[in-house]
Structure formats: C-alpha cells, structure tokens
C-alpha cells in the first residue's frame, strides 16, 4: 500500500477496543452472479485500514454498489468471505458502518427524531440522544430543520439529513453510495464539507462516485473497479496523473468505458 498523496492526519489516541474489532471491512475472493451475469468477479479488498477517503470509481455496472453492499453485510456473496475486524459480519455490528445510500430513506417523523431513532437502535442512552442529534444537525447545516417532518425536506436537505444520521452514531467507517448524485451544488458542497470534517477527525470514508471532480476534491486514494474486478488501487494524485490500468485511463479521459 502506497502512502496517500494527500495524507490524512494520524489519530492521536490509540484505537479504542471497539474499533479494533470492526476494521478493516474486508472481502476475499468475492464473487456475485445475478441472472447469469457476473457482477463481482473475484474481488479482494480491505477498507478502513487507515484514515482517509477512499474513492470507488468505475463505469456503470462495474459492481461498485454491489461490492459495497456485500462488504457492509447487506448482500451475501455467492463465493468468498467478508470479515469485519477479522471476524464474520453479524447484525449487532452493522450499524457501526455509517451507510448513506443514493436515495435517502427517512422515517415519517421529524428530522431530529430520525437521528434520535438511529441513536436509539445503536444503543445510545436516551439522555444523550437529543444533544447528539442536534449536534449532528448543526454539522450538516440543518440546525433549523430539527422539528420539520423529514419527508417534506428538499432532496438535498434529505441527503444531508441521512449523512447527519450516519455521523451521529459515530460510525467506525462511513460508506457512501453516490450521495451527491443529482443534488444541487449547495447541498453537494455541504455534504463535502461534512465529509472533510469527518475525514480530518480520523474516520475512514469510502465514497462511490461518478463525479471525477468530486473524486479529485475528496479522494486520498482511488479503487478503480471494472467488470467486477479491482483494476487498481492507487493514491488519488497518482491515479489522476497516470492511472496504471488502461481502463482507468480511458475512464478519466472521458471515454465511454463498457
């Protein structure tokens, strides 16, 4: 593993014991086939081995979303194994991965109650929930929307709320599947600000994106996926200057990669 060109700050404190058990989120020999199509074709990948933002890039259908879902325990691989901190995934630890999907899924209650719900299911004592929820809302620029029904927020606000919800539980690793696809520039900027803050605080971040300029702005390293295989894993600056694989070169040059 090469050193990231844009090195993330080191954590001062040693990892608390619960972090040691969760990371890395890793897969070995992952194969997923659906309807006769190979979606993941033997992927070995360990995420969250160190702080910083890992960008997962690749053309549509490369298997990015499926890979993330398999690693996060939401989908079972047909072959291969997934481990979290060296042991098999279990339901009790799922919520320690902060997951943000492309489509925000929010409960029919206020923005603050949405975050408090997530804190509740992850075992945060009731007395702390409100304060932590309000802190998370502030960080996502939603301080004034606490009492608003989450379902009437704009799509950009909804996505910021899902991010606030993910960070409120203090996840061991944050995983985002195209969180800013189809969002307005202001919401995208707000989301990127939060992600920078979390990265600087030492949370490993995995970000699937199609937006190359966003990848350049946020990435410490890039995992390039093509036809269900990891073609390369390179520090971001090196990746954009001289990608190692021909598929990645074609992709960042804006050619249509099939």
């Amino acid at each position: 593993m090469q050193r990231a060109a844009n090195p993330a700050p080191q954590k001062e404190a040693p990892d608390p014991p619960h972090t040691a058990r969760m990371l890395p989120v890793a897969g070995q020999g992952l194969i997923v086939t659906r309807a006769g199509r190979t979606i993941l074709d033997g992927v070995d990948l360990a995420l969250g081995t160190k702080p910083g933002t890992t960008i997962v890039l690749g053309p549509n259908g490369a298997g990015k979303s499926v890979l993330i879902r398999v690693l996060c325990g939401l989908l079972g691989p047909d072959q291969g194994t997934v481990t979290w901190g060296g042991t098999a995934p279990d339901r009790a630890r799922v919520a320690r991965i902060g997951l943000v999907f492309q489509k925000p899924v929010l409960l029919r209650r206020s923005a603050r109650a949405n975050i408090e719900y997530a804190l509740g299911v992850t075992g945060t004592p009731k007395a702390e929930r409100r304060e932590r929820a309000e802190g998370a809302l502030r960080r996502a620029g939603l301080a004034h929307f606490g009492e608003t029904n989450a379902r009437v927020l704009s799509s950009g606000e909804q996505q910021r709320l899902t991010l606030a919800r993910a960070l409120a539980v203090k996840p061991d690793i944050l995983v985002l599947d195209e969180p800013a696809a189809n969002l307005d520039p202001a919401s995208t900027a707000a989301i990127e600000d939060v992600l920078r803050g979390m990265r600087d605080a030492g949370t490993p971040i995995v970000l699937i994106t199609h937006d190359l300029s966003q990848a350049r702005r946020l990435g410490d390293e890039v995992v390039f996926l093509h036809k269900g295989q990891v073609k390369e894993r390179t520090p971001a600056a090196d990746f954009f200057a001289r990608p190692k694989s021909p598929e990645a070169l074609a992709y960042i040059n804006g050619e249509i990669v099939l």
Binding site: R69, F101, V105, L107, A118, N149
Partner: protein, 239 residues
Amino acid sequence: MNDLSGAFATAFGLILTLDPQLAEIVALSLRVSLTAVCLAGLIGLPLGAALAVTRFPGRRAVIVVMNALMGLPPVVVGLLVYLMLTNHGPLGSFQLLYTPAAMIIAQTILITPIIAALARQTVEDLDGEYDEQLRAFGLSTFDRIQTLLYEGRMRLTTAFLAGFGRAIAEVGAIIIVGGNINHVTRTMTTAIALETSRGEFALALALGIILLALALGINALLTSLQREPNVVPRFGARL
C-alpha cells in the same frame, strides 16, 4: 315516502329528547364494536406485520386464506361462536352466550382478518421501501415490525376504519350470539332487524339514520387525525 319523512321526524324526536332507550342501544353498539375493533387491532396488526416481514414455506397460502377471511359471512361466524359458547359447547362453562362479551368475540373474529390483511399489505409496501435502511440499522425482526407499524400509522387508521365499519354495520353474528335482548344485547342493527320485522318502519329507519350519522362522524374524526403532510417521498431530485 311517508315512511321516510316519518322516520326523519321520529329520528330527530328520539335524538332531541335524548331518549334513554335509544341512548342505551347506541352506547351498547359503540361499546361492542369499538372494543372488538381494538381487540382485532391488538391481534391483527402484529399478525399482519409479522406476515409481511417474515418468509416461510406456505406464507403465500396463509395470505390467500387471510384475504379470503376478510369476506367471512357474519352469520357463519355467529353460528360458530354460538356453538363454542352454548352450554354444551367447549366454552359453555363461561356462560357467555347472550351477553355483550359474546358479541364482542364474534365481531373480533369477523374483523381481525380485515385488519391483519390490510396491515400485511401496508407493512409489506413500507418494508420494500425501507428494507435496506432497516438492515443497515441492524434491526431485529421484532424491532423491524415495531418500526414499520409506527411508520404505517397513518395508513393503518384506514384498516381500523374498515374494521369498525364492518363491525358497527353487521347484524348476522351479534343477533345469533347476543339474541337482541332488550336492555342487555340490543344494538342498533339488531333493533333495526326487530323493528322491521314488527312493521315499525319509522323507528327502524330512525335507527338507521342514527347509525349512518354515527359511522359518518367516526370516519370524519379518524380521517382528521389521519392527515399528514401528504407529500410524495422525494428520492433525490430527478429532473
């Protein structure tokens, strides 16, 4: 026509004078049907929700049977409950026949499938929408059911309305197990049946008008509680 205008006059007369016997009948009708709908909710909501989120062999068949039970003929339910509660029946020792309790049991059996089937549909739809996020929360099946029922609370009032509507309007089951005994088990529907058979059409129609008005009022009340910011969930601006 004479009957109709006479009925309205009689109805308003009974209501305006707060006729004690009418009040008694209305109160018993409401007590029986509201208790039955609450019991049916306690059974039907968890049952329907559990059916929505679990997968087991024969699940489809259970759903088909449950949906079919929505159309249970009240007289058949009445007959079966009668056979259970009659002195020689398996539950005869409880001496429940011809009591309001028997009527509540019959109506609960009648409307539990309605509430369960509607809850199943509602929760299954929501589950499809929330599934990935709920799994990302690491919820147990029990917590998932609880969350989805709460999320579906607005739509589930409709299930309650459907159940209540069927209970308050049915006569076949409660007339068999209740017996339409004056001051004991006489409800609006059984009284209407009785007055019609006696040729007292005006009184029967008056009761019918009050029944309709009550059904309308309760529906209006629940519908006003049901109002939520009725927005289509927005999943990222798709322009």
